[in-house]
Chain length 250, copies 2
């Protein structure tokens, strides 16, 4: 426990966390990718995830504000460009909005964040607070789930195109950009934590930060599962609160 | 929408929120009270709720620190006495710990907060952050779920004693104290929001704060439901992560 890990050992420990706890393993994703969800359930996923997507530049702006050197800020700045875009209609948030409208949601409704699940808000806000309140090392480390995103993206795009007639390649354009952005961001953050975690204790904080972030992603799917798949109850005010959930299946 | 409500109208609007959205309506509570849960599932409930219970005095200390006058602080101070007690082993947190050990959990494990669900942490922390970051009026209003707790307590105590042979009156002693503490606290907070919400806009903030708090309570049960009842997956590191969840039923 007290010996410092080599860079390779640290990377292997991070990859082991991803292999065990990344949200590609969540039952909701298996249903999503295999075509087992109704259109309304896919809409619920797209709607809630919009809140996550639109919070990412706020999270990255906090990291940016905490990075003490020009070179690092210059690199991290690109994340804001990727998500907020160069002009109206450009960037990851706009592309996620097109995904949401592509599956039949109203753009104003999506952007209002009315109808998202409380769990979505609590989990995403916990991520933003984590990046604000923890050390800079932990803030950077919490972004490392990007290491695992190319796998889930490939699986998702293939599965959704094959299984849902209301999903087109244009609807999923968000993921095309992420396939090259995410590995570039993950490489930088991985190199950063290898270099800046100089004790075993700091390396353990890095691992815990990735576990935390896996929890943030997992909890969002638990929320969707509890509200829209399990025979529970859709929380007050959430998307389709008034409708019969049972009518959704199929 | 713009006319100010009378005190009675405000109270009626608060009670309507409780009637529609308080967590007594959650499917997990129906299972808990009717005896449909296994001992392990009851343990999961007790374990996770300990994190909520033990965060309440931190929440109340924040309110206390924000109350500007002596008389109000003197009243609110009692909440810390109720939860933290007068000496070791006294108070609501200690009583909840006895509930948790009474259903078979290890006290050190419970107090470590290892094993709680990420959703529990996100929802409870959201409550503490809300009380810190919103106006004092909203902070006080978010405590108003106590208005509805006597009903659920009566239902819970009767149901659990009748339906689980591993639950004794001593195990549930926490709730005896709450039956007189909660109405006293709720009466004070209700009077406070009636007096201090001086515009319709402020009254709407009061209503939204109670809705938020109902969401905090509801989300914790969604988390328990997704992890321990639905055919999902117990999150990494959470209570019984290693066990087969399916083996729990019965």
């Amino acid at each position: 426990m007290t010996t410092i890990m080599t860079h390779d050992e640290l990377e292997a420990a991070l990859r082991a966390i991803g292999a065990a706890h990344y949200h590609n393993l969540h039952p909701f994703h298996r249903l999503l990718h295999s075509g087992a969800l109704s259109k309304s359930q896919v809409q619920a996923w797209a709607l809630n995830r919009y809140y996550y997507q639109s919070s990412i530049p706020q999270k990255d702006a906090i990291v940016l504000a905490r990075l003490p050197d020009t070179a690092a800020r210059r690199v991290w700045r690109q994340r804001l460009v990727d998500h907020d875009g160069e002009h109206a209609g450009d960037g990851g948030i706009a592309r996620w909005l097109r995904l949401a409208t592509g599956v039949g949601l109203d753009a104003d409704y999506v952007q209002s964040n009315r109808g998202i699940l409380p769990i979505t808000r609590f989990a995403v806000d916990a991520y933003v607070h984590f990046v604000r309140d923890r050390s800079l090392l932990e803030a950077v480390a919490s972004s490392l789930t990007e290491m695992f995103s190319p796998t889930i993206i490939a699986e998702r795009v293939a599965g959704m195109l094959a299984n849902y007639d209301f999903v087109s390649p244009e609807t999923l354009a968000y993921f095309n950009a992420r396939l090259h952005q995410a590995p570039r961001d993950a490489d930088y953050a991985l190199d950063y934590v290898k270099t800046h975690a100089r004790t075993r204790e700091e390396q353990e904080l890095v691992l815990a930060s990735l576990r935390f972030k896996c929890d943030v992603l997992w909890a969002q799917l638990d929320g969707l599962y509890a509200a829209y798949v399990a025979p529970g109850q859709i929380p007050h005010g959430a998307f389709l609160y008034q409708a019969e959930k049972m009518a959704l299946a199929g």
